[in-house]
């Protein structure tokens, strides 16, 4: 609380010095402690990099840790809306937390910009004019992987994901685009760390490829064990298990794996070059997918603030919807449900010196919109 107060004080003082200026207050709820903290730290760092680069003293950011607990996220949201009176909220990493916070936040007249989670309900039936997703709808990367599997001539995939809603969405997304057959489909326990049994099933199944969605530590465990098992079928996955933050922990086991992502550090555009070098300079590590999403989210907000006052909700919403900012992804625009329409690329894990990272090898889907836009009535 103390850090928070002093930040507020500093901006209050500077606002005073500059005279009456319309302050914009942004509330960021993200995961900064516990096992999943790496993702939240990246989103925050990417976001703050853009905010600080803009050098605007009329924008104030309040950051709170949700500990990855939906209940705390709800309470922090209440606090930010009721006491801090924030205008815009952002930061949530996990779908279940987003589902807990977003509907009531938007209902209370706050803008919410998602830098990571994109549950299907919020893209479809429960879409809202004040809810913008700057990352992806949850199914998108999986759909691109399915499309890539067709391009690569894969005919018999073994697919697996944890037994929870995002896991089911992942496999549904893959199957939506993938035309081949399935050698097997397995739901693993959430938080499972040993995949010996599943790998044995894969070996015996006669599959020609493996598609998996196992975020965080689950993916690290799976890949290391898979590499050690001697099964050498090609592996495809979404970017989450191959991103900068965890790739070093997987090591050589991930080399050559194809993964799908809407961003990579080698995307050739000026905004991305600036972002990658500035991030490295400030934090001393390569930026991750999550950092790029945080950075884009901040720049989107800043671009809209240049055009409209956040208190004028209609004008500000139109400015957000226009999305006229230099995205690190290159082209970026919103569909009718305020979700991105964007290219999703296929990356390959490579080694650069001592560091494991990705390079783009193909485009999985071009100008791809999500499958739920039709269900959205705003």
């Amino acid at each position: 609380m103390k850090a928070l107060k002093s930040l507020a004080l500093a901006t209050a003082v500077s606002a005073l010095a500059l005279g009456a200026q319309a302050d914009t207050k942004i509330g960021m709820i993200t995961t900064l402690s516990g096992g999943g903290a790496g993702l939240g730290v990246d989103v925050r760092d990417g976001f703050m990099l853009a905010i600080e680069a803009a050098g605007r003293d009329d924008v104030e950011v309040v950051i709170e840790d949700d500990q990855r607990k939906p209940e705390s996220a709800v309470q922090i949201a209440d606090q930010m809306i009721q006491s801090e009176k924030v205008d815009i909220m952002t930061g949530i990493i996990w779908s279940n937390l987003a589902m807990a916070v977003v509907p009531s936040a938007t209902a209370q007249g706050v803008f919410y910009l998602s830098p990571n989670a994109g549950p299907s309900v919020l893209a479809g039936k429960r879409c809202h004019q004040n809810y913008f997703n700057v990352a992806w709808q949850n199914d998108n990367l999986h759909e691109a992987a399915g499309a890539y599997a067709n391009d690569a001539g894969l005919k018999n995939s073994y697919i697996l994901a944890p037994n929870y809603p995002a896991g089911k969405d992942a496999l549904t997304g893959y199957k939506r685009m993938y035309d081949g057959g399935l050698a097997g489909e397995t739901y693993t326990k959430l938080g499972q760390t040993d995949y010996a049994a599943e790998i044995a099933q894969i070996r015996a199944s006669g599959a020609d490829s493996v598609y998996f969605f196992l975020p965080g530590g689950m993916g690290i465990s799976f890949l290391k064990q898979y590499a050690d098992s001697g099964v050498d079928l090609p592996v495809v996955g979404p970017a989450f298990s191959f991103d900068q933050g965890i790739l070093q922990a997987v090591g050589a086991a991930a080399l050559g794996v194809k993964n799908t992502s809407q961003w990579n550090k080698d995307l050739d555009n000026a905004a991305n070059a600036t972002f990658v070098s500035a991030f490295q300079e400030k934090y001393g590590r390569l930026p991750s997918l999550y950092a790029s999403q945080g950075y884009d989210t901040a720049n989107l907000i800043l671009s809209a603030l240049d055009k409209a006052d956040v208190k004028d909700q209609d004008a500000f919403r139109a400015a957000l919807q226009a999305a006229e900012f230099d995205s690190v992804r290159g082209d970026f625009k919103f569909g009718p449900n305020n979700h991105p329409v964007q290219n999703i690329y296929v990356r390959e894990v490579i080694q650069e010196g001592d560091v494991f990272t990705n390079k783009i090898v193909a485009t999985g889907l071009s100008n791809h919109a999500d499958a739920y836009a039709a269900e959205c009535n705003m």
Binding site: G34, G35, Y187, K189, T193, A200, A204, K224, Q225, I246
Partner: protein, 306 residues
């Protein structure tokens, strides 16, 4: 499903069980001798894995990493025993639960403070990587076989330590009658520190061994801790034999349940529902097993007194 696949899954279950045994042995020893419920046992597992990853990263030697995991976890164990744990022996279980829960918070966030929020890298060494072909044509990772072997050797060593050595006699005496062995001139507080450090070292070793094929990250100890508790409760608290049997039982149930339940359900319903429902039931299976065992034998399979 072929016989080879079934055998391979049984091996997987055994390997998981052996790993659980390393965790459970320390937990059950500490409970049996000192009457202490230690929720922070999983934190020591994490300490072992992080120490191993750090040393492997610096030296490149897996053996040194294992030694480091033993040393770091034993040292951390001895340190908490002397500063905190020994004040808890004559408290009730409630205070022990709260204090060791507090230790989890301190260890987890402390580790994150030192090593950062991102998982660490620890890999299987070159000479243990890749699969070997077993008689019958089963291809099985050499490293997992090594874990089974190490676990069995440690298990045998523990049985020997407790049945045949002077320290073992003191430990057994301590379980039976605390005052008596103190009266006989055994330095009981030193013995307790030793037992606690031994349990911690085993947990640390398990963390390092498993860390090479899983993810070395903050919070990695908690799921294992719960499983280890299930193991010692099934086996009977305080019994090393019980911990071994319980660990193998849990390992096999969890692995085989996860494989066969969805297949079983697929005989009765459409595949998508079957995989999902089977997976749900499989994740509850070991808790169902534990409840069943306790209903038949309220103090576990090999437990004397609760």
């Amino acid at each position: 499903m072929s016989l080879i696949l079934i055998l391979e899954q049984v091996l997987n279950g055994l390997q998981f069980g052996v790993m659980l045994f390393l965790m459970a042995a320390g937990l059950t020893l500490v409970f049996g001798v000192m009457g202490l419920i230690n929720l922070a046992h999983g934190a020591l597992y994490m300490v072992g894995a992080f120490a191993a990853a750090a040393v492997a990263g610096a030296t490149g030697s897996f053996l040194l990493a294992l030694v480091a995991s033993l040393a770091a976890a034993a040292a951390a164990g001895a340190l908490v025993e002397v500063t905190v744990i020994r004040r808890l022996y004559d408290r009730d279980h409630l205070d022990q639960v709260l204090a060791t829960f507090a230790l989890i918070l301190i260890f987890s966030e402390g580790t994150r403070w030192v090593f950062g929020s991102f998982p660490l890298f620890l890999d299987v060494p070159e000479y243990l990587s890749g699969p070997v072909t077993l008689p019958g044509g089963i291809k099985y990772p050499l490293y997992r076989l090594t874990i089974i072997a190490i676990g069995l050797v440690v298990g045998a060593g523990l049985f020997w330590l407790i049945a045949r050595t002077r320290i073992g006699i003191q430990i057994r005496a301590g379980e039976a009658d605390r005052e008596m062995i103190a009266a006989l001139g055994v330095d009981i507080s030193k013995l307790y520190t030793l037992v606690f450090a031994l349990g911690a070292a085993l947990a640390g070793l398990a963390g390092a061994l498993v860390g090479a094929i899983q993810s070395v990250q903050v919070g990695m100890g908690e799921p294992v801790l719960i499983l280890a508790f299930v193991v010692i409760v099934i086996g009977g608290i305080g019994s090393i034999k019980g911990a071994l049997v319980g660990a193998l039982l849990v390992g096999l149930t969890d692995t085989l349940g996860g494989v066969f339940l969805p297949l079983l359900f697929a005989l009765m319903m459409e595949p998508a529902t079957a995989t999902s429902l089977g997976a749900s039931l499989a994740s509850m299976l070991i808790y169902i097993l534990m409840a069943l065992v306790l209903l038949v034998r309220p103090s576990g399979l090999f437990g004397g007194s609760a």
